[in-house]
Each structure stands twice: as structure tokens, then as C-alpha cells.
């Protein structure tokens, strides 16, 4: 699993960070940082949930 964020769409709502903080972090500068672009299998369910719950549909997954 590889995480790709469309930074033109992302608006830093930080929903993804709430669901998978090991992977997504919105810092005090309001920027989203991807902490782990290739998360391990134990995180896949929550990363998928983050993909779905992103209000901007800005996150996609590649195999």
C-alpha cells in the first residue's frame, strides 16, 4: 500500500490524522505531513477509513 495525497485538494481538515495518527499529521503550520507513505498491514484498515472520511477525497491508495 502506497499513500498518495493530492495536495491541491487537501485542505488540512486533519480528519485523517484523527483516524491514523501514525501515518498522517497536521502540524501547527497547518500543513499535512505524511509520516509513513508505505504503512504496514496493521494500519491498512484505518488508512482506508481515512481515505473514505477525507472531506476533500484528497487521499488515494496505490498497490
Amino acid at each position: 500500500m502506497k499513500i498518495v495525497v493530492d495536495f491541491d485538494l487537501c485542505e488540512s481538515n486533519a480528519v485523517c490524522m484523527g483516524i491514523a495518527p501514525e501515518v498522517f499529521e497536521v502540524r501547527d503550520d497547518d500543513f499535512l505531513y505524511i509520516l509513513d507513505e508505505n504503512p504496514g498491514p496493521e494500519l491498512h484498515d484505518r488508512v482506508r477509513e481515512a481515505v473514505e472520511r477525507c472531506p476533500k477525497q484528497a487521499i488515494t491508495l496505490e498497490d
Binding site: D30, L32, Q57
Partner: protein, 434 residues
């Protein structure tokens, strides 16, 4: 506009989110040979996706009154109205390929009635669609002002509404009057200003967003708009719309206010809230009272569930009171929940989320988690710098129940988790303050 840095690496260890509700396993039973979803909406689409993902492989029909596949509404008052997005970007991702989920689409024809005893949905074209399980996700419609329809008066709820308003903005009107400083009105005012249009925003209450924000936070919204050149009129109601003279008798020319003044405007946008779309359910036997009344598991009748803006249910997290939530995130969450609810053979935990929504106006991101109360305090930043966190306590005991964040998305997410964990106000101050 928020700008984003490139991804960096480095993995800090953090506790994972505690889940209070576990998804019930989905079981496609023989008793549910056909599930019908009324509402080609965000909630309806999410329910369909969750049914399929859970292994439901029987017939699935989605009915929608609009002639469009499901699309996302939040950009209608922002990116789409601004002209920076075209319609192709609005389609919900799960509906980009309409054949993907094996759905029988009935779009462009509204449902007209529900026959509970016969388990079928009567369509406006005279056909009827039988069901074994029914998901009601018909959403809500924009309220309009009484009086004759005038040209130049708009609401923003559907894609067709937004397209008409965008065309009107393209024609460069002299002044746009926005009636109602709720979230839709405020976002439309911000987008119109960013397009260089002159804007007057009229609100009957003393402060904008009075239904959700306290007076001080509402007035900060008014300041934000004034600093961007909006003529904000607070505490004054609308008397009537004014039409033009002669050939313009059917076209709006302004808004007459209760204080006797007239705001001249060639485009008027009405943002005075919504009413749930329950007309088709009258006489069905379902309890209809400002929405489809459900139990704490979103069940309206045996085999019938409701989700999204149309559903009214008791969120037991906050008490017994029935609530109806008009929010994007709730539509996603509740749509997924009712799919599980419909298929689950065992008891399902109540639907008791911590609500959350956002609004973008100019370069401000406003997020509200949980429920605002009158017990409010600013614990981070200040309203004057328009970058702050305000927290809300439960009146009867020491518990965080809500938080408002302006350009503080990180704290908004933390607050939502603290509310879920029933944190004390002191814990909230400690985590969110500074």
C-alpha cells in the same frame, strides 16, 4: 488558501484511536433479497458502498430525484461557485464508475410515496419498487422566502441551484444580497467577494451563525466578512423582496428590510436553512416530525432505516433528545452505520457519534466538534487574531462536550477525541491550550 508542504518522513509513536463502536459483521440473509436506497446522496452512496463491502451481493437499487449521479455538495458554495472546479470534479468517488457496485440506478424520477404494509416505494412515474430492506436518505431542501418567484433569486442546495447562481455571478451583477448569515450564506458571501462582487449580507439575529455559535464567535464571523469588504447587516429582518418596474416586474431589484431601508441588488441568495424531504412519506405510517423519527439505532420501522439530513434520532452520547444533523461527516458515518444496522443479525450498538463539521471562508477554516453550550471559554489563541480554540462544557457536570477551532485543525481533531473520551474541562485545557 492554505498551502501545503511536501510530505516528510519520520514516525512518531502515538496511541491509536480508541473505537467505541465496533462494526457488526455483515450477513447477507435470504430475508433481504432486495435493498432499496431512496436518495442518490452522500449518505445513500455510503450505505451502498458499505453493503457491498460487507458482502451483500443481492439486488441493490438507488432512487434519486435529481438527474445526476451522487455528487459532493460542500464545493457547491465554494470551489464550484468560484469557478475553479468544473462539474466533473464533484461526482462522489464511489459513483465515478456507476456500474462498479452493481447498482440498479433510478435517477431523475422522485419517489412519491411509501407503502409500508406492502413494502414498496411508489414512484412519480407510476411504477412501484418492492423492497425487503429500505434506507431513507432523501436529505433536505433549501427553504425559500414566501411570495411570488422572481428572477434573480437563488438558493444553493443542488448542483442545478449552484449552476444557475454561478451563471448569474458570471454575468457580473452590480450587487449580491445574501439573506441569512448561516454557513451557506457566509460561504456564498465569501466566494462572491473573492470573485470581486459587491456583497451585502443580511441576518435577522444579532450575530451570524446564531444557531451554532455563541454571540462572540458569531461576531468574529461578522468581523471576518467586514474585513473583506462585505456590508454586513445584523439584527434586521427582511420585509420583502422588491421587484423592478415595467419590464422588470418579474425580476428582483432589491431587498426591503424591516427597518425601512432597501438594499438594491440584482442577485439575491436566500440561505435561511433547510427542511427535511419527508413529503413523500406523509401518510406512510412512519413518524415524521422535522425528519424521519428513528430509534437510537436509526431504525424507523422494521426493515426501514434512515440516514443523513433527513434522519432524526436520539444521540445517546448527549442525552435522549432527538437530533437531526445536517453535516457531511454525519452523512458518511450514518450511511455506513445504517448499512450495518440493516444487515446485522445481532444487536447493534446505538449510533452515537461526536459530530464534526468544517466551513471554509476566505483563508479561515472553521471547525466545530461536538455540541456547543453556553459554558464556553477560549483556551488557545484569541478571537481578535482569528486563530483560536473555544471549548464547551456540559452544564450539569465537568465534561467537555464541544469545541470550536479557527485555523486550528490539529486541535479540532484532538478535541473530537477528548469529547469521545469524556475528558474533563481541565484535561481539555491542558491538551488544547497553550
Amino acid at each position: 488558501m492554505i498551502v501545503f508542504a511536501k510530505p516528510s518522513s519520520g514516525v512518531p509513536s502515538r496511541p491509536s484511536r480508541s473505537k467505541t463502536e465496533q462494526a457488526a459483521p455483515l450477513t447477507a440473509t435470504d430475508s433481504l433479497a432486495h435493498i432499496v436506497i431512496v436518495g442518490a446522496s452522500l449518505a445513500g452512496m455510503q450505505a451502498a458502498q458499505m453493503l457491498r463491502r460487507g458482502g451483500y451481493d443481492r439486488s441493490l437499487t438507488i432512487i434519486g430525484d435529481e438527474p445526476h449521479y451522487p455528487y459532493d455538495r460542500p464545493p457547491l458554495s465554494k470551489q464550484y461557485l468560484a469557478g475553479s472546479w468544473d462539474e466533473s470534479k464533484l461526482r462522489l468517488r464511489a459513483a465515478v464508475d456507476p456500474d462498479e457496485l452493481g447498482i440498479d440506478w433510478r435517477i431523475g424520477v422522485p419517489a412519491r410515496a411509501l407503502e409500508l404494509s406492502g413494502s414498496s416505494v411508489m414512484m412519480a412515474d407510476g411504477t412501484s419498487i418492492p423492497y425487503d430492506g429500505l434506507i431513507i436518505a432523501t436529505g433536505a431542501s433549501a427553504r425559500r422566502l414566501p411570495g411570488p418567484d422572481l428572477e434573480g433569486v437563488y438558493v444553493v442546495r443542488s448542483l442545478d441551484d449552484a449552476r444557475a447562481l454561478r451563471d448569474a455571478f458570471d454575468a457580473e451583477p452590480k450587487r449580491v444580497a445574501v439573506i441569512g448569515a448561516g454557513f451557506i450564506g457566509a460561504e456564498v458571501a465569501a466566494t462572491a467577494r473573492e470573485r470581486g462582487l459587491e456583497v451585502t449580507m443580511i441576518e435577522a439575529a444579532k450575530s451570524p451563525l446564531g444557531r451554532v455559535l455563541d454571540t462572540a464567535a458569531g461576531l468574529a464571523i461578522a468581523d471576518l466578512h467586514r474585513s473583506h469588504g462585505v456590508d454586513v447587516r445584523l439584527g434586521v429582518g427582511v420585509h420583502s423582496l422588491v421587484s423592478g418596474e415595467g419590464a422588470g416586474a418579474h425580476t428582483v431589484a432589491g431587498v426591503a428590510l424591516a427597518d425601512g431601508t432597501v438594499v438594491e441588488a440584482d442577485v439575491v441568495v436566500v440561505g435561511i436553512g433547510v427542511t427535511p424531504n419527508t413529503g413523500w412519506l406523509e401518510g406512510s405510517g412512519l413518524t415524521i416530525d422535522d425528519g424521519v423519527v428513528c430509534d437510537e439505532t436509526c431504525l424507523a420501522a422494521p426493515g426501514v432505516v434512515a440516514a443523513g439530513d433527513v434522519a432524526r434520532w436520539p444521540n445517546v452520547r448527549f442525552g435522549e433528545q432527538l437530533t437531526r444533523v445536517e453535516q457531511w461527516d454525519n452523512a458518511v458515518d450514518q450511511g455506513a452505520y445504517v448499512a450495518r444496522r440493516l444487515l446485522a443479525e445481532d444487536e447493534v450498538a446505538p449510533f452515537a457519534p461526536v459530530p464534526w463539521f468544517w466551513s471554509d471562508q476566505y483563508d479561515r477554516k472553521i471547525q466545530l466538534a461536538g455540541m456547543p453550550t453556553s459554558s464556553a471559554e477560549v483556551v488557545h489563541g484569541s478571537m481578535a487574531e482569528q486563530r483560536f480554540v473555544q471549548i464547551y462544557g456540559r452544564p450539569d457536570r465537568d465534561e467537555l462536550v464541544g469545541a470550536l477551532a479557527w485555523n486550528r485543525p490539529r486541535q479540532a481533531v484532538q478535541a473530537r477525541q477528548l469529547i469521545e473520551q469524556r475528558a474533563t474541562m481541565a484535561e481539555a485545557r491542558e491538551t488544547l491550550g497553550g
